[in-house]
Symmetry: C2
Subunit: 398 residues, 2 copies
DNA sequence: CTGTTAGCGCCTTCAG
DNA sequence: CTGAAGGCGCTAACAG
């Protein structure tokens, strides 16, 4: 069929073993031999048989990056950063990792399927990005899968999702201290410092009692709660009291943390947290449009709407405008993530910046090198930063 | 280390071969035995060793989807559609394909690297999305790689890129006839019907002279030229004569085809094609901002700017607004692709709709099933459709 | 319908 | 520094 190692060996007048050695660069080989082999390789246009070498060495060069929605730049940015970093790490020729992104579409079943597929391939590492689904059964299944993967030598990195099974937020910081403020009219952003969340999962394998601690190599936990709190505080400080909130899907950690931050700010300011002002939906523009309509119908006295991310905020703006409301004069609107397009809206969006590219790159690094995460329990907190732009202003009546 | 096939066989009191048979479902197995095996599998929590089975069967379940920019929804939409379709096709348990997206970042080197990596993994199929890089050397290298992949049994699908090595555009239609018009104020969209481009590449393998024709299983060719022409015709019919054009990177097929469509429209209307009104840049918002600034500086008499895609158009709008120009009163702006966010701009963007999701899904199908593409030479043309919205209007002086 | 027998292509001790 | 030999876990003919 295809040209094999021994074909190369034959042509280079050496044994297959030697060819293997120059290809993997793990053992000393005489320079002359080495060149001869390399020449044979190019002449024959030889390409290693991945499955065969993976089988023999019981490791593969596959790195899986799981995302909830590949069409969402939030994930695209992290994934591309991770891929770039992973490719960059592979220095010597032949040592390239195949960094690959898997789109779960937010479906628990597909998440598990991908994890199994990756396990089947004996992936070198797996990076899970974005919010986790909060369902006891599913979480347990994922944790179990990860434990098995880890036991088989796969490195696991969480990027933008909280430590396994944890309910707690921030905690063990490392990148910077909580959330800050930037942009015009520097409004106060109070750093969040919740007690560290639980970490890891204990699930011994049947074959040995190692891997009893956390199967997760490293966790990059976004400060969603702190960022959300700073954002709502900004709105409160402008004088808003009736603030609508368009949340993401109910069962996502990201959704919950952002919402909690929002509520903390309300509570701290002793502003009523009216349940009628809260709506859940997908993280897309359509749900922003729908939610804004419903919110404005139900509570015409609203002076501001906070969206769980920039994409939803976009929809909110569109809906508001369709109703003849001006942003920010009649209605302030804010988002989250600070995607590149946040500055293209009219007016530019007030939001919370998450260093997605940097986080993705770091995740890629942690996945490829043996390096451990910096924080305690392998958790690094990624800071969120309030960015004030034109879409928020003092409410009309002031 | 891990639990193997024979562990399962042992527990189920059968031979390894039998276990393999129930897992792959290719041979008849007694119902009783089958159940016993399946039970053993779950009890032992057995997961197939991908590399091992790939080696033995000399096929893998990996499907690679190459994209130029994973953070761009244009690719995200196609990729997610393809992944969804590929997952859906795998009916029987165990038959799942691992559909995976690889981000080249537009780099020729990385494109080749990914192709090699996929070849190494003996991928079942490869889908190449988006415009190809127009460089003789690189094209030849890609064609050669694809030929080798095809020779090894990998299915190759092109989605949104023209037939291999072709310079020609549209041609062999199949989805519908050319580009149409939709939206308010139906402006004429003249279908494009260039002579069919060259197809395929002849590169016999050293081992057999099969696969001598095109290594590409199927091609979904977007009607970029027709769409672009219809768009510019729309602008011309509104009365615009000085039209700026912000193109994508110079060496991309997508860029060239869209630009050619634009020029055809100008030529047909006998409007001067002023080279000073053309600027190239990346397919992102930043290049839209930069280009619009430069264009408006150089030619203040511009009444319209056409962007090579919606993302660039977004930047153009922002830059125009920053200069105090109103869209569309002072300047008409148009995009391409009709991304979901095109309706969230203010005003909503006039653009050309490409059925990205449908095309991606079709590509996924063609990659997984044995089905051949419909058109001659395996080329299906995907129609482009003008969508007129609020961002274009008659120029001021009329 | 099921067990037995060979490899798939490569890595990796173990000798030399 | 290099060659020889065994096996990684699974599949695919063959027999029965």
């Amino acid at each position: 069929m295809s040209v094999t190692l021994s074909d190369v060996a034959h042509r280079a007048q050496v044994s297959p073993a030697t060819v293997s050695r120059v290809l993997n660069g793990n053992y000393p080989v005489a320079e002359a031999t080495r060149e001869r082999v390399l020449r044979a390789v190019t002449e024959l246009d030889y390409v290693v048989n991945g499955p065969a070498s993976a089988l023999a060495a019981s490791t593969s060069d596959l790195v899986g990056i799981l995302v909830n929605d590949i069409a969402d730049p939030f994930f695209g940015i992290m994934a591309s950063a991770a891929q770039a970093r992973i490719s960059a790490v592979a220095a010597r020729p032949g040592g390239e990792k195949l960094a690959v992104v898997c789109n779960t579409g937010g479906s628990p079943a597909r998440e598990l399927t991908y994890l199994t597929l990756l396990q089947r391939q004996r992936a070198a590492a797996v990076i899970l990005t974005g919010g986790a689904i909060e369902d006891a059964e599913h979480s347990a299944a994922v944790a179990a899968k990860l434990a098995k993967l880890a036991a088989a030598g796969t490195r696991i990195v969480l990027c933008g999702r909280p430590p396994l099974d944890a309910g707690g937020g921030g905690g063990s910081g490392s990148w910077s201290s909580g959330s800050g403020v930037v942009g015009r009219g520097g409004v106060s952003g109070v750093p969040e410092a919740a007690p560290g969340g639980a970490v890891g999962v204990a699930l011994g394998s049947e074959l040995g009692s190692e891997a009893a601690a956390s199967p997760v190599t490293a966790t990059l936990s976004f400060d969603n709660r702190g960022g959300a709190r700073a954002l709502t505080e900004h709105l409160l400080s402008l004088g808003h009291r009736r603030i609508g909130y368009v949340a993401g899907p109910a069962e996502r950690t990201t959704t919950r943390h952002r919402l909690e931050g929002h509520r903390e700010a309300l509570r701290a300011a002793r502003v009523t947290d009216d349940p009628a002002l809260l709506l859940h939906g997908a993280y897309d523009r359509t749900s922003g449009v729908d939610a804004a309509r419903r919110l404005l119908d139900a509570a015409p006295d609203l002076t501001a709407i906070v969206a769980a991310n920039d994409t939803i905020a976009l929809g909110v703006c569109t809906a508001a405008r369709a109703r003849g409301l001006r942003v920010p004069e009649d209605l302030s609107v804010a988002g989250f993530d600070d995607l590149p397009s946040a500055t293209d809206t009219v007016p530019a969006l007030t939001t919370v910046r998450l260093p997605l590219y940097e986080a993705g790159a770091r995740a890629g690094l942690l996945a490829t090198t043996g390096e451990a995460a910096a924080g305690p329990d392998g958790v690094e907190t990624v800071p969120a930063q309030l960015v004030v732009r034109g879409s928020t202003a003092a409410p009309r009546g002031r």
